[in-house]
Assembly symmetry: C3
């Protein structure tokens, strides 16, 4: 039996635009029969953080950073032209108008299509993020070695 | 007959610096005998928009977004140190001094060397960009499935 | 004898966050027995510039740009939430607390593990950077053709 072709994606930037691109590519690849894994690291972890709940992290600095960098699919902003939220609001409105699924819907779709989502252990360590800071669609926490294991078997690897 | 090795590039960020890197890599690869395809999406579409002409898009919000995010190779700015245009002006001056081709010239060169340029249908849909918003060197409009078809046959894929 | 699997990384963005990600991936890959090459271009050159010494570049504009864009591993800032340096200071403090190596230490480690570091000739030409603007761990200066030679043999290529 032929093995499935793999696609490996690092989601590093936590922008709404980057998340949208990453999940559209991931779900399209899955629908084409590819095996997709998404490795969320640094600001990218914001995409898969829960939208509700308290601010995690031990110590004042960590609490502050996790407050500023709160994350959650509903709090993502555009990496360009955010314009104090107005650009992001405009883009979301236009996306809705053409029936593009939201990040929340894309995460659910990706999960249902078997896309694997992994949160980077190292960043979680630095930022003091416990496993339950992430939504239920996230499969596991793992490090760079795990990502490289996927990448070297993948047909293509994207750093987004 | 041996097949040509492929290189697949996603141009996501519309910065002058990103565009310069993407086209230098693309034209170098083409000169080495590789088959190159460039997939322009999100802010990256600005690189291949026409420099002249009216602002496209139906509805006030779309018109406004396309005004702010006007694009065209001559309007690109650096993603860092733009400094209200001064950084971009300085960089362009230095590039000219060492005879580096402009983005305009790089697009023409790439096209003449057979580099394929594709505009992302999905982003065009959201932003209301018609096919004639793009310069003549652009080959076609296509979606993520097209890009993935290229990427899985490519020796390397870059997300820029 | 089996050839080593290759990993090819372009370091384009000079952020502290991007540098940290690039070097953690590079050193992890080297520890897994992969052959890693890092190609530093554009703002990425800041990561491997010497921390001390005078400002290089002929002509006023070049001098000014190299002053603003000074670089050196100790001067890198976060690409997001720098907040006039406070965000970067907070992140460095948290990284130290969990014993994460600094960029300086990661560069030394990478060099000792055989990771090849290459500075992009083209950017050096534009910015007027002589070879001795870079730290001793940098192996050589080379152009896009060199990078593409590595990328087409690599198991994975990342544009960071």
């Amino acid at each position: 039996m032929a093995e499935k072709e793999k696609l490996s994606i690092v989601v590093f930037n936590g922008g709404l635009d980057h998340a949208q691109a990453a999940f559209i590519i991931a779900t399209t690849a899955a629908s084409m029969g590819m095996e997709v894994s998404m490795f969320f690291t640094f600001w990218g972890l914001n995409v898969i953080k829960k939208n509700e709940g308290s601010i995690p992290g031990k110590g004042l600095i960590r609490k502050m950073l996790n407050l500023i960098n709160r994350g959650g699919s509903k709090r993502l902003t555009l990496s360009k032209f955010n314009m104090l939220g107005m650009g992001t609001w405009m883009m979301k409105k236009l996306m809705k108008e053409v029936n593009m699924p939201s990040i929340d819907e894309l995460i659910t779709m990706a999960h249902q299509m078997g896309v694997k989502m992994i949160a980077c252990t190292t960043t979680c360590g630095v930022m003091g993020l416990p496993e339950d800071a992430f939504r239920s669609e996230v499969d596991t926490l793992a490090g760079a070695a795990y990502f490289l294991g996927e990448a070297r078997e993948a047909k293509a690897t994207l750093f987004i």
